[in-house]
């Protein structure tokens, strides 16, 4: 039978580990962004599994280091050498971005944590003679990414449904990605054209990663079929 001392020892082993409290204090400032980087990586994986090599780019040059935005920003912003990825599938070019703002059909701007968009539109927005936010129609897929140590908040789901609604009817994929879950949000996302609930999307659940990646692969294949 386990004793209180066993329990205290187990807690100490967890907290005192190099990936315990000390690690938490280092990473907590970037926990949300680390999750976005993970989802961005899953989009790269989808491109790779379609047989193409995604290419990492930086807004002002080679992305060394590859910088993820700390806050929503404009696609043409040269404040830092922000990273993005590009790939070509069946002759169609796409870009993968993190933390970029889009102009919705209402004219209101919206940040997408991770997105796949048409590369020609992205280049047009970066053109120094026509700097602009990408328009809603340039979006192929957009995902809200939320790292939570507890239950997700319902408001996040409601807000994202509104965001996707303002992105028009060209969006082929959308989803709320989280390592956590909210049972009611799963139901809320059931109606057609609502974002997909990618709950428990974490390396601890490889089958959920596969669902996310396969959805992207399926849509890109359909979109680029001759």
């Amino acid at each position: 039978m386990a004793t209180l001392q066993d329990l205290e020892n187990a807690i100490d082993a967890l907290l005192n580990h190099p990936l315990g409290i000390g690690q938490y204090q280092l990473v907590r400032r970037a926990e949300e962004k680390a999750y976005e980087a993970y989802v961005f990586g899953l989009c790269l994986r989808a491109a790779r599994e379609l047989g193409v090599i995604p290419v990492l780019r930086g807004i002002t040059g080679a992305p060394t280091p590859f910088v993820f935005r700390g806050a929503p920003g404009q696609i043409h912003s040269r404040g830092r050498n922000y990273g993005y990825a590009e790939f070509t599938l069946n002759g169609q070019e796409f870009e993968i971005h993190a933390g970029v703002e889009f102009r919705g059909t209402s004219g209101m701007t919206h940040e997408l944590d991770v997105c796949i968009m048409r590369a020609s539109d992205a280049r047009a927005c970066r053109n120094p003679q026509s700097l602009d936010d990408p328009h809603a129609a340039s979006l192929v897929g957009g995902w809200e990414c939320k790292f939570y140590a507890g239950n997700l908040q319902k408001g996040l789901g409601r807000a994202f449904v509104g965001l996707i609604d303002d992105m028009g009817s060209n969006v082929r994929l959308s989803g709320l990605c989280s390592n956590s879950v909210h049972p009611q949000l799963r139901d809320y996302f059931q109606p057609q054209r609502r974002p997909h609930p990618h709950f428990h999307l974490t390396p601890l659940e490889p089958s959920n990663e596969d669902i996310f990646v396969n959805q992207i692969k399926g849509e890109l294949k359909k979109m680029t079929a001759a």
């Binding site: 967890l14 899953l42 290419v55 280049r123």
Partner: protein, 161 residues
């Protein structure tokens, strides 16, 4: 929670918030009239002590296991991509062109340096680091923490005792 709070108040508060969120359950109210169905309604209730322990462990797992795994997975994916190094000085590419910029591909299969921006573009007060590196942790260390969490789950699973 006391032990955790003594080490890091913010983390203890996060874990406490996850516990205090409670859970939804379906309550059934028997019908008074036999011709009517029993009424089922949603009710938010606190977690039991055993459930609360598991919720606390889920929260700690999110920070001590999942966070390092996110970084490792992102690092793996970025490593498998190539870096596009612009070659326009050689090709005469115009910056205002909407054609794809010519690049040479380098570094495929090589670990990439990844950073997260801390000082954002619109931030007026520039304090602290501009960016922080997203560093991969050793897989053995992540596995250690997974085992520690599993041990704690066993120790706090009173149903088996």
């Amino acid at each position: 929670m006391k032990k955790l709070g003594a080490r890091d108040e913010a983390l203890a508060a996060q874990v406490q918030a996850a516990i205090d969120a409670g859970k939804d359950v379906s309550e059934t109210e028997p019908a008074i009239d036999r011709r009517k169905k029993a009424r089922v309604y949603r009710k938010t209730v606190p977690f039991s002590h055993e459930e609360a322990l598991q919720i606390a462990l889920d929260a700690l797992q999110a920070y001590f296991v999942e966070q390092p795994l996110f970084v490792a997975a992102a690092a793996d994916s970025l490593a498998k991509a190539a870096i596009g190094v612009p070659t326009h000085r050689r090709s005469g590419y115009q910056a205002n062109s909407e054609e794809p910029e010519p690049v040479s591909l380098e570094g495929q299969g090589v670990e990439k340096a990844v950073e997260i921006e801390m000082q954002t573009e619109t931030q007026l007060s520039k304090t602290g680091e501009e960016t922080i590196p997203l560093k991969r942790m050793a897989q053995e260390q992540i596995d250690d923490q997974r085992h520690h969490i599993a041990d704690l789950r066993k120790l706090t699973n009173f149903a088996q005792e």
